[in-house]
């Protein structure tokens, strides 16, 4: 044990890292508290956005801090390697090199764990205290990723310290080890995606192209929606990616140990311990510029001036590193010819994407070897297939039905036949137009799976969607209320009121026929009159939205009652203010009004939206009052000023008034209530729409 770990030395290094460790842990905890409170406040303000926090919102920005903290602590633990006097001292003490390495790294790791524990404690305590929806399993995965990230950074920084002899090279080497290998793979993936065949879904070709597997990039790729492949928000829960990253991190830690053991004390102050390391770092520094150059050449189809600039930049960066790290112009001159290796690697990026693309396309998928298919639906893309109405239109991120149906494997022979035809058709053409659809194809035997974006004709598409939607598995998923841990949220009400509405809805929904259930399927998350069911199943967070109408009378009546008890007075005041603004030249903000008919068909509930003619509210001068310039609209508003509030599901309408106030700070309030509309008022609405038009496509014209 003494050969691998030295207790005394561990305690000593732990002590030496105390300041950095405590500062890091405090920062992680306090910054996290601030972020969580802001997250909760933001969600409480707008119940439509109320959801279980994703892995990304819980950890993304903090992962970056873990990387920084890991590098700082590791550099501190091994900082002595860079100075002759300190290097001699630590190499003279009676502790084996392996034990120095192991004990130092463990001290760093323990401090990082303290930081992560402080971070975790802050999160769990706050969520437990407030009782806000929270996915503990996902959080465990997030923490697991943070631990792996800590290991990965430690390993990379330790290798950097072991192979270099100055702080400058330490930093550069750590960055190169952390980013360059997988940067090269990711860029290759992006090149295949961009220049390979359009049917390929690149992250599924190899995990190495999947940003999920690149822990360093994942959270940030999600933040900037990079790659355009898919949403990475919850990819912290990808078990295979975690295993991959853990193994990768342990390999880095092990290699760090090997390099540390081989390192000589006299290397302190030298750029790198071996010429080959110096060459690798130099090359890695020049490569990103050259890859951008390849990208530009491939995009433009020519070698432009910009490419020349990039080539020069790559060469300058390459030489500059050598000059700064070795402080020797002679060495720089000697290194210059080796730049050709850098060029050679970048040339590979011209050829490899096409080779990979061809190899993928050569994989066979026909009627005889397809076992089953899964149609992959995406959130936010309701009309995804090109012909509306067939793919389930979720309209929300983390949609429950979408998530669940994406796990269904369809074995229908006709569906398989359609996919097999589309596979052959799509793969054999450069560019195709039609109905694009993402399909995961399960092949028989050891064929594994292929994920492709296939092009279908209208006929094929309609047939396939019929098969898909009519399948028992998909139907069951769509009809059944989500299970797992979940919370019902209907508005900015008390927890008890939301709970009461939830149980009423559950009871009424379960008693409905499948056809009735289908009419309740929600489309819009930002309207009143919906039940939001947010929950989690394993690491996946989900949201399901259901309409409230006469099919669920008890829930709807109670919801209306609660809604009006909160908002009646405010809505009345808003309506009076609008009329006042139209009558006087005196206004200090903007209004918009939406009125919904809950009994209308899904997608056509909005009967009035003033979003595109809200200027009609405002008088443009003392002699040009809105009541005179827009008499039709004024008549409607004057009538609505005296509106009656009604909670009867069979006759009530929902009204939402949005008010934007520009004072010292911008403020937006959105208030909804349930009202009664008379025949005359409905006629006035129709007149207004006829006069001004309506912004929403789904507005039902009366």
């Amino acid at each position: 044990m003494n050969k691998l770990f030295h207790r005394g030395y561990f305690k000593e290094i732990f002590r030496q890292l105390k300041t950095a460790g405590i500062v890091g842990a405090c920062f992680l905890m306090l910054a996290n508290v601030t972020v969580i409170l802001e997250l909760i406040r933001h969600r409480a303000d707008n119940f439509n956005n109320y959801s279980i926090p994703s892995g990304l919102s819980l950890a993304g920005p903090f992962m970056a801090f873990i990387y920084i903290m890991g590098v700082i602590l590791t550099f501190n633990a091994f900082g002595w390697l860079n100075k002759r006097s300190t290097s001699d001292f630590y190499h003279s003490i009676p502790v084996t090199r392996t034990a120095i390495y192991g004990s130092s790294l463990l001290a760093v790791f323990v401090w990082l764990m303290i930081g992560i524990a402080a971070f975790a404690a802050a999160t769990v305590l706050i969520y437990a205290a407030i009782g806000a929806p929270f996915n503990y399993f996902l959080y465990l995965c997030v923490l697991g990723n943070m631990v792996i990230a800590a290991l990965e950074v430690m390993g990379a920084a330790a290798i950097a310290c072991a192979i270099s002899g100055t702080r400058f090279v330490d930093l550069i080497a750590a960055a190169v080890i952390l980013f360059i290998p997988r940067f090269l793979l990711t860029v290759l993936g992006v090149f295949v995606w961009r220049y390979g065949h359009e049917s390929l879904v690149v992250p599924t070709i190899s995990p190495l192209f999947d940003p999920t597997f690149n822990m360093i990039a994942t959270p940030y790729a999600a933040m900037v929606s990079a790659f355009g492949w898919r949403d990475f928000v919850n990819d912290f829960a990808n078990g295979w990616a975690m295993i991959y990253n853990l193994v990768y991190s342990l390999i880095l830690v092990f290699l760090g140990g090997v390099a540390f053991n081989k390192r000589k004390s006299e290397h302190a102050g030298m750029a790198t311990t071996k010429g080959v390391f110096q060459h690798i770092i130099r090359t890695a520094i020049g490569l990103p510029f050259l890859l951008i150059m390849v990208f530009v050449i491939k995009d433009d189809g020519e070698f432009s001036t910009g490419c020349l600039v990039l080539l020069i930049l790559a060469f300058v960066a390459y030489c500059l590193y050598e000059l700064i790290s070795t402080k020797s112009a002679k060495r720089m001159l000697k290194a210059m010819p080796l730049f050709v290796i850098c060029l050679g690697i970048s040339v590979l990026y011209f050829v490899l994407p096409e080779l990979i693309s061809k190899a993928e396309l050569s994989k066979r998928a026909d009627v005889n070897n397809i076992k089953g298919i899964t149609i992959i639906q995406e959130d936010y893309y309701p009309d995804y297939g090109g012909i509306g109405g067939f793919l389930y239109n979720s309209g929300t991120a983390d949609d429950y039905v979408t998530q669940m149906q994406n796990k269904v494997v369809l074995n229908d022979p006709d569906a398989i036949k359609i996919i097999a035809n589309a596979y052959g058709f799509t793969s054999s053409r450069e560019h195709t137009s039609g109905n694009g659809i993402n399909v995961k194809i399960f092949r028989k035997g050891l064929g594994g799976t292929l994920t492709r974006c296939l092009t279908l004709s209208d006929g094929q598409y309609i047939e396939l969607m019929k098969r898909w939607n009519d399948s028992e598995e998909c139907r069951k998923i769509a009809e059944k209320l989500p299970d797992g841990r979940n919370w019902y949220i209907c508005g900015s009400f008390t927890r008890a009121e939301n709970k009461e509405l939830g149980s009423l809805f559950k009871e009424e929904y379960n008693a409905l026929t499948p056809a009735d259930k289908e009419t309740l399927r929600g489309y819009y998350i930002d309207r009143p009159g919906y039940v939001h069911l947010i929950g989690c199943k394993g690491a996946d967070n989900y949201r399901a939205v259901y309409r409230l109408n006469s099919k669920t009378p008890k829930t709807t009546a109670r919801y209306y009652e609660i809604l009006n008890s909160y908002n009646e007075a405010e809505v009345k005041q808003d309506l009076e203010d609008i009329v006042s603004w139209m009558e006087n030249w005196d206004w200090d903000g903007y209004f918009s009004i939406n009125i919904y008919d809950p009994r209308a068909f899904a997608g056509s509930e909005c009967i009035l939206s003033t979003m595109n003619f809200d200027f009609k509210f405002y008088s443009t001068g003392p002699s040009e009052l809105a009541k005179d310039t827009d008499p039709v609209f004024y008549e409607l508003m004057s009538s609505l000023k005296n509106v009656k509030f009604n909670t009867d599901p069979s006759s009530a309408y929902l009204i939402t008034i949005t008010r934007d106030l520009y004072g010292s700070t911008y403020e937006r309030t959105e208030t909804s209530a349930v009202i009664e509309l008379t025949g005359q008022q409905l006629e006035l609405i129709a007149k207004v729409i006829e006069a001004y038009g309506n912004m929403y496509e789904d507005v039902a014209y009366y």
Binding site: S85, D88, S92, P94, V95
Partner: protein, 303 residues
Amino acid sequence: MIIAKDLTKKFDRFTALNALSCSISEGCVYGMVGSNGAGKSTLLRLISGIYRADGGKVEIDGKDVYDNTEIKNRLVFVPDELYFLPRANLVRMAKLYSSVYERFSYDRFKDLVSTFKLDPNANIATFSKGMKRQAATILALSCKADYILFDETFDGLDPVMRNLVKNLLYDDVMERNATAVITSHSLRELEDTCDQLALLHKGGVIFESDVGNLKTSLFKVQIAFSGEYDRSKFAGIDMLSFTKHGSVSSIIVRGEREETEKKLRAMDPLLFEILPLSLEEVFVYEMDALGYEFSEVLKQEVE
């Protein structure tokens, strides 16, 4: 016992030690002298297991030192360039030493701190060069090591402190049979400290001897005779050097003092006097005899 055999160490193209061999027995104070770049510090770093030899081997009590915690626990090395933790005081440094050196004694540490009259709670960074050397000595001696390796031991110490350090070293050697290996580029520093001396030059030991023997076996004779005479008159006496000015000759003789005196007095000289040689003079003559120019080997010393 420390044994170095054919020890070679290279730094890129520079050979710091070239097949060096020497042996240092237990319970002695072994001095190494040589000009800058002679290989003294490199040899100490090889003995203390900091460096790994490119060729040959160095063993302590028959065991390889490199990465050997058992042996390293029995030796302590005080380098020429001292290391202390940033903003640390002596107490903090003692904590560091005690966490890695099994034999570190806080009692000894306290004794030494009061002997040197250093403030254990003061920031070492504020210490003078000499005080820092004292602090390093305190820490090293508190490790109660069997082998104490000092590089440029007395650098920055005033004469009083030099004596104190020397006495403390003697105590360790006498009481615990410890072995001290100390280096200096100044021969005078080591003259009255060491039992054995080695002269290093260009990565090799060119001369190694017991100091007591050196001083007694080499002496200077001033002698004069009434008639004409030359070098041949002294046949049978081992002379390293012979110079004659008029009737008076100066001879550097190697051999038994009493026997030589008897022989020379028997020649009935007009003047006869035996003068002691400084260690430096002994080195000059011994090296001259070996064919080395002393001023070349110990440039610093002469300059």
